[in-house]
Each structure stands twice: as structure tokens, then as C-alpha cells.
């Protein structure tokens, strides 16, 4: 687990209430680098039932980088979190990433096989990108 991840897990362990947890998530979203307008295209859009997620993937010097956005606050926070987790890793690291991490921070359900928030599709897109 890279240092950034450890930090995230530690933060999540400290939360006593949903307010704290979601404040943290929403703050992550606020700190997210704004997505270049030119990248907020339909091609980068992941259509879920409930909130929109844009995700752009890029490879530089054998590392993967991700940029994203969402129209919902919480989803945007989760997009930021996922980008924090995966951006800068190489393809092998992404493919072998232990998804128990999301379980640890209590977000498993948000990333499960439902199409409701597009996050699972986002994760799939990242993994597929890494597999190419």
C-alpha cells in the first residue's frame, strides 16, 4: 500500500459520523484539479443512472494519470479519491491493485456492480486502460 493510501485509510478510521466522512470526501472533490473543459466531452463521460462522471486516462513515462469530474458533490469527491489512489501508478500496479482497500474505507457498496453512480464503471475503465 503506497503512502497516500495509508493516509486515506487512517483518515477514514478516525471518522465517528457520516458528517465527518463526507466532509472529507467532499473536500477531496474541492481540491481536485479542475478538468480541462476540452476533456469534459461525451467521449469521456461515464453514464450512470444518477450522477455523471467524466474520466480521462493518459500514460506518461510508463505511468498512468487520470483526470476527472462529476456533477454531484459526493461523486466528485469519490472521483478525486479514486484518482488519488490510481494516478501515478504503472499499469501492473493498477491491474494488481487490491480492491479490499475500498472495503476498508467502507466504500465497497459505492463501487459495486451497480450502475447507479458510475463509479464502478469508472474503476472498470481505469483497469481496462491499464490492461491495454
Amino acid at each position: 500500500m503506497h503512502k497516500g493510501l495509508k493516509e486515506i485509510v487512517d483518515s477514514f478510521l478516525l471518522f465517528d459520523s457520516w458528517e465527518e466522512k463526507y466532509e472529507y470526501i467532499i473536500d477531496l472533490g474541492r481540491e481536485l484539479d479542475p478538468l480541462n473543459k476540452g476533456l469534459r466531452t461525451d467521449a469521456n463521460l461515464i453514464v450512470g443512472c444518477q450522477s455523471k462522471v467524466w474520466l480521462y486516462c493518459e500514460e506518461k513515462n510508463n505511468k498512468c494519470f487520470f483526470y476527472g469530474d462529476s456533477d454531484a458533490l459526493i461523486t466528485k469527491g469519490l472521483v478525486a479519491l479514486i484518482i488519488k489512489v490510481f494516478s501515478g501508478l504503472d499499469k501492473d500496479e493498477i491491474v494488481n491493485f487490491d480492491k479490499a482497500f475500498f472495503e476498508k474505507i467502507g466504500l465497497r457498496s459505492k463501487l459495486s456492480m451497480t450502475r447507479s453512480n458510475g463509479l464502478n464503471l469508472m474503476l472498470q475503465k481505469i483497469i481496462n486502460f491499464a490492461k491495454k
Partner: protein
């Protein structure tokens, strides 16, 4: 003032009983309802005492299975005032509507003919008609509606747009509006236009009589009516069902089959090829019996009381927009809160153990019309309580504050 004993009812639903401690509030009943113990017992009893294939055996269980299945058909027929042979068991409302589309409407629509529906329909009562129009060169036409989401059809429109088929909802799963379908059916009958009523959101809330309505087709799902998943009903008027061409062929729907030729059975068996969902249909009939025991009048009045409470609570939420019929309606509440994404609210309500739906509610054309990308929906049923509504209001206020 109390039409139903909610404490007693809650005890009859295993899901509610099991979630008592965790204080879960389930307000997604328009999506699916929970099942009373009577339905769970019906399923267990069927598999323990009767289980056998229908319509084909002379052995004891085979006969008994067939009888129970046909009695279930009778129960459903009585429930909506139909004749037994006009009831087709399907796997859900979507299946029912597609059966009408594939076995009947497809064969009556020609180039330039119109199919009339509304932008308020659930996708299941919209996409099949769109497809037929695409493949047959027909035109999909819309009925307009007022600020209360009440739809209005004129004889003029029916004639001018060469309407050959009409498909509308009885009650909307977004706006909760109870349409005056009887009036529209009358107009359709006058011009001899077949009409389908999607009763998915009506059957568990209102008394329905298809003979009184005089519609050609009426349908609903079992799982929204306290029955099992994988069950549904299509009522098709006798004179119409005779014109159905089966879309699904297989065991049980032919009286004679040979390499050269096959001779079909009569409806409804003609339209139920293969081993049906025997247990599911029997359990659905038991769900209907459960409803009848409570009484639909009582349910309607009780739910109106719940609805009034919910309105009171929602009025206190700042910046709320309700997409809802203020006239006759059922306890469904679709809304948005200005400046906050519906998904954010639904997520945080879930954290607070309150289950509501958010998104387009399978009604994208309506969302487009309302110029929104989705909304929240709280939908109540007989086991919901005033306490739950108040808790919902409190949590909602807190969340809205948190997010602004």
C-alpha cells in the same frame, strides 16, 4: 382516523420485523414492495406440498398444481373484474407490455399510423412503442399534460394524428398522478382505437375494474403488489386476445405439432408457452388475497393520510421543488432541492438508513421535459408510519443544511 392498524401490518412483513432494531426506513416502494409472511408461506407451501408441472400430468401433484395455478388466475381475474380467460400470466409489467407490442400492436401498425403515448411513461411503456414506430414506419405521438401532470387527449388529435393505438399510465411512478383513464378510454372506444393502461403503480393503491374502465389491455407487476419477483399480469379483452399471434412458442401452447404444421391452443394458454412461473403466480394470488383482506378502500384512505403528513414535512424543506400532482394521487413524492444534486442527498439519506430512489426513475423523456437530470423519489406503502415520515423530514433538513 385510522384505517389500517400499521403496527399489526408491520408485524406481518418479515423484512420490516428484521429491520426493526436498525430502524431502517424503506421509502422505495414504487420500485418494489416487501412481502408479507402470507406470500413467503405460500411459496414454501407450494414447494413442500404441491410442486409439480402444470397442465400435463394425471398424477396427484400435477392435477393439484394445475388447479392451484388456475385458481390463482381466477383470483387475479376477480381482483380486477376480468374473465378468467382474459388473464395472462407474464414475468412482469415490462413483459406484459412487450407481449401486447409483439403479439398484437406490431400487426396493426402500418406506414404513417400513429401510436399515442405520453412523456410521463415509464421506459417500459415507451420504448416498445418507439421500436414499433421505427420498424413499421409509424409515428410516436405525445399527449400533452397540464401543470398537475394530468394528461388531455382530444378527439381531434386522435383523428389528425391517425392514431391506431394508445398506451398510457394509470398512475405515474414519478408524479403520483392518478389519470382519468376512463374518460380517455371512452374517447378511444368512440373511435375504435385499442388502448393499453399501464397499471404498475395503480394496482396496490386503487380498486381496479377493467370492465368498468372498458380498456383493451391492463397490466401490472407482482413485485410492486407485495408479490414475488418474476410475476406479472396482462389483462387482454376477449375480443382482442383472440387476435394475438404468439411471440413465444413451446410446450403447452399447441394442441397438435408435426414437422409439417402445428395447431395452436386457445388463449391464455397460447400465450404462456413453456413451464410457467407456477409458484410465483400462486404466491401473487396470495398477495392479492392479502390486499383484499386489508381492503383497498382502507389502503387508499390510509395512504392519503400518510401522503398528507409527507407533504407537511416536505413543505418545511427550503428550496424544494415537488414534481407532483396536487389532485388525486398516491403516496409518491418526487422532488429536487435547488442547487443540490439528487444523488448527494440520496447517498446521505442512505447513510442515515433511509432508502429513497434517485435518478431518472426510468422516465428520461419526462426528465427532459422537466429539464432536470434526475430527482429524488420517496414512495410509501401500507407499512410506513408517521414516525418514519417525521424522521425522514428531520434527516432531510439536516442533510440539506450539510450540503449547502
Amino acid at each position: 382516523m385510522k384505517y389500517l392498524d400499521s403496527e399489526k401490518i408491520r408485524k406481518e412483513f418479515p423484512f420490516i420485523v428484521k429491520n426493526k432494531e436498525s430502524k431502517l426506513i424503506y421509502f422505495d416502494n414504487a420500485a418494489t414492495t416487501h412481502k408479507p409472511q402470507a406470500v413467503l408461506s405460500s411459496i414454501a407451501n407450494y414447494y413442500t406440498y404441491t410442486n409439480s408441472n402444470t397442465h400435463r400430468s394425471s398424477h396427484v401433484q400435477g392435477v393439484s398444481s394445475t388447479e392451484k395455478y388456475e385458481q390463482a388466475r381466477q383470483t387475479i381475474a376477480d381482483f380486477i373484474g376480468a374473465n378468467t380467460a382474459e388473464i395472462i400470466f407474464t414475468s412482469g409489467a415490462t413483459d406484459s407490455i412487450n407481449l401486447v407490442a409483439n403479439s398484437y400492436v406490431q400487426n396493426i401498425i402500418n406506414q404513417g399510423d400513429g401510436i399515442l403515448t405520453t412523456e410521463i411513461e415509464h421506459h417500459s411503456n415507451f420504448l416498445p412503442w418507439q421500436k414499433i414506430c421505427k420498424t413499421k414506419g409509424g409515428e410516436l405521438k405525445m399527449i400533452s399534460f397540464d401543470e398537475n401532470f394530468k394528461i388531455r387527449v382530444s378527439e381531434d388529435q386522435l383523428i389528425k394524428e391517425r392514431i391506431k393505438f394508445i398506451a398510457i399510465h394509470h398512475v405515474s411512478n414519478v408524479t403520483a398522478c392518478i389519470q382519468d383513464v376512463k374518460k380517455i378510454i371512452k374517447l378511444a372506444k368512440k373511435l375504435d382505437i385499442p388502448i393499453l393502461i399501464d397499471g404498475s403503480q395503480a394496482a396496490s393503491h386503487l380498486k381496479i375494474n377493467v370492465k368498468d374502465l372498458d380498456c383493451d389491455f391492463y397490466c401490472f407487476s407482482g413485485h410492486k403488489l407485495f408479490g414475488p419477483t418474476g410475476t406479472g399480469i396482462l389483462y387482454a379483452k376477449d375480443e382482442k386476445i383472440r387476435k394475438f399471434l404468439p411471440n413465444k412458442l413451446g410446450g403447452g401452447m399447441v394442441s397438435h405439432a408435426s414437422v409439417k404444421n402445428s395447431v395452436w391452443e386457445r388463449a391464455p394458454l397460447l400465450l404462456e408457452a413453456g413451464t410457467p412461473n407456477i409458484c410465483g403466480s400462486i404466491a401473487l394470488a396470495d398477495a392479492v388475497k392479502y390486499i383484499l383482506k386489508l381492503g383497498l378502500d382502507n389502503i387508499y384512505k390510509h395512504e392519503n393520510m400518510l401522503a398528507a403528513c409527507t407533504i407537511d414535512v416536505l413543505k418545511r424543506i427550503p428550496n424544494i421543488t415537488l414534481y407532483r400532482c396536487s389532485e388525486s394521487s398516491i403516496p409518491i413524492f418526487s422532488f429536487n432541492i435547488n442547487g443540490i444534486h439528487h444523488y448527494d442527498i440520496a447517498s446521505l439519506l442512505a447513510e442515515n438508513k433511509i432508502s429513497v430512489r434517485s435518478g431518472h426513475l426510468c422516465c428520461q423523456p419526462l426528465m427532459q421535459k422537466l429539464n432536470i437530470n434526475g430527482c429524488l423519489r420517496a414512495s410509501l406503502s401500507i407499512y410506513n408510519t408517521v414516525d418514519e415520515i417525521e424522521q425522514f423530514g428531520k434527516s432531510l433538513l439536516k442533510i440539506v443544511k450539510f450540503l449547502t
